[in-house]
Symmetry: C2
Subunit: 339 residues, 2 copies
């Protein structure tokens, strides 16, 4: 049975990441991982006349770059699974129109990247698709416009705030032809410990990350020792430290194996990065741009990537609701003999 325990999918055929692509904005390009990204755009409009069109172009470029690397064309792809932060997923839907492939839209806020990768692996593993692209995106300026204040207003943010990553990451999944295996995915439950402040998303999401990581261990019988790296999506410095404490309270001494994409993507002294990066692109570009390259170089063999999402909306915040959070995790492994 491919369902292991209560919430983990084990993929018997271990679908492969045939290729992956990362496209980012200028700020991400100037960060510590800048050299690992495939395309860095200095222009926040990416040559278009609106931030929304720019974000869409990032998604289209990431998908096209992933296909180019794998030597495939759009007619070779059976399905694109995509999601983003914009209302009614307009980035993904309009990009899917350009890509002209069967399309499934998904939403898990910043957990969307691993939700998509898990579903793509499931489809390929079970034979319902030969080749699937999983993509996510975010853009700092579309997110600021939609969720926060007009950029011109220059609103101040507390140090616990996050900086929405401008970028898109795409992974192309197939049956074979790569040493990068997807072995498991654990699907999260909604966890809400009552945090109501939308500037405290790291603190809100940390318990969801830990809930899914510990569910993964419980379902698979694996422990921290089975992984070279436990990566979370975008808890940021504040949330990462909380998650580390929560893991330790449950007997998992993560030590220096435990990292967060939101912390890794920017230098702490870059302008206005606050607690770290966030957005649907954060986990995607760090994983697909940086982590997979480290795996291919043999520096990491087994990695557990846990993308975390804060499932709030401006309406739910205005109505005084707390922030429901979720995390989905995917286990990626480098095949020994092809390292």
């Amino acid at each position: 049975m491919p369902l292991v325990g209560k919430q983990t999918w084990r993929f018997p055929s271990t679908p492969r990441i045939l290729s992956a692509a990362s496209v980012v904005g200028n700020k991400e390009g100037q960060g510590p991982l800048g050299n690992d990204f495939d395309i860095v755009h200095k222009d926040p409009y990416v040559g278009t006349d609106s931030w929304e069109k720019a974000e869409r172009k990032l998604t289209e470029e990431a998908c096209e770059e992933a296909m180019r690397k794998a030597g495939l064309k759009s007619q070779d792809i059976d399905l694109v699974i995509a999601g983003d932060l914009l209302n009614q997923l307009i980035t993904s839907s309009f990009a899917a129109r350009t890509l002209a492939m069967p399309f499934l839209g998904i939403f898990g806020a910043c957990s969307t990247s691993m939700q998509g990768l898990a579903l793509a692996a499931l489809l390929v593993d079970s034979g319902f698709a030969h080749k699937v692209i999983a993509a996510t995106s975010s853009h700092n300026s579309t997110a600021e416009r939609q969720f926060r204040f007009p950029t011109e207003y220059g609103g101040q943010k507390p140090p616990t705030a996050h900086c929405t990553v401008t970028g898109s990451g795409a992974a192309l999944i197939g049956k074979n032809g790569s040493a990068l295996k997807i072995t498991h995915a654990t699907i999260g439950k909604v966890i809400d410990l009552g945090v109501k402040n939308p500037w405290e998303m790291g603190a809100a999401m940390a318990p969801a990350a830990v809930d899914t990581i510990t569910a993964h261990f419980r379902d698979t019988g694996r422990t921290l020792d089975d992984y070279d790296l436990i990566l979370t999506g975008d808890l940021g410095r504040v949330g990462h430290s909380i998650a580390k404490q929560l893991l330790e309270q449950q007997g998992h001494q993560a030590g220096d194996k435990f990292h967060d994409c939101g912390v890794l993507i920017y230098y702490p002294d870059q302008e206005e990065v606050f607690s770290g990066g966030s957005g649907c692109a954060c986990c995607a570009v760090v994983t697909y741009g940086h982590i997979l390259k480290r795996m291919e170089r043999g520096e990491l063999k087994r990695v557990l990537v846990t993308a975390t999402g804060a499932l709030l909306s401006p309406t739910s915040t205005q109505q005084g609701e707390s922030i429901p959070c979720i995390a989905h995790t995917v286990a990626i492994e480098m095949e020994d003999d092809m390292r």
Copy 2:
């Protein structure tokens, strides 16, 4: 291979609809299908203090009613797949918090119901889950507030407009224990013929419905003769008539086998129903409340349900974009010997 042709999933084990539930508002209860719905709420707030909480309660009730009918509890369910029209899917996310099950959020506008049912069938068919709930919801007042004008403003609408259905539909999918089989699902591509007017959603969505229905025929080798009913989600009177013409142009004489949930759910002379119903709940409550009962009574054996979605947002409309549309279709069949 369970992938048939380019975009159709054939489910070898034919997962079953173990139970289904429909919860609606007063207007839907007064329509021609009123007696088929499980719960009809006269109060638009459903006993809560906001329309958003009311919509959430509809989803929770639909899922609970589906579990009750199947004699199952929340711990028996491996996963809930849900989506709605509200920004950041707050209805589904908050309902998933209450349900406390692993959760996948999906979005395909009004096509979400069949996207969810297709994914639920896939998960059960491939053994990645034993029991899955697929649910969608919409609420007239949350949709009006988010997409259109304040209700108090009393804005006028053209006769091509739709009336967002207040309701939620949920289906509980499992391996066996019911005569209602899911045999195929065809996943749609984004189709956009350039309609820009958000009051013309039926016209915008009709080509997407026809594209997916004809893809289903092409992939499976089936024809209209194989079905007793071809049902679309919420094209309304205007879109239904366009879709019928488009099908005929492609050689499919649908005749009186071709119907639309948005047309079926209201009497034409009910107040402010315009071209017909729409919203993520429309196709779900008509299919789960009305159509499945007709199948169980032996009136219909094979039904093709095609949910259609208009993937626009207020931002995309304000920026002058046309409306990308999509449709996903699911084939449901009543087992002969259990009819």
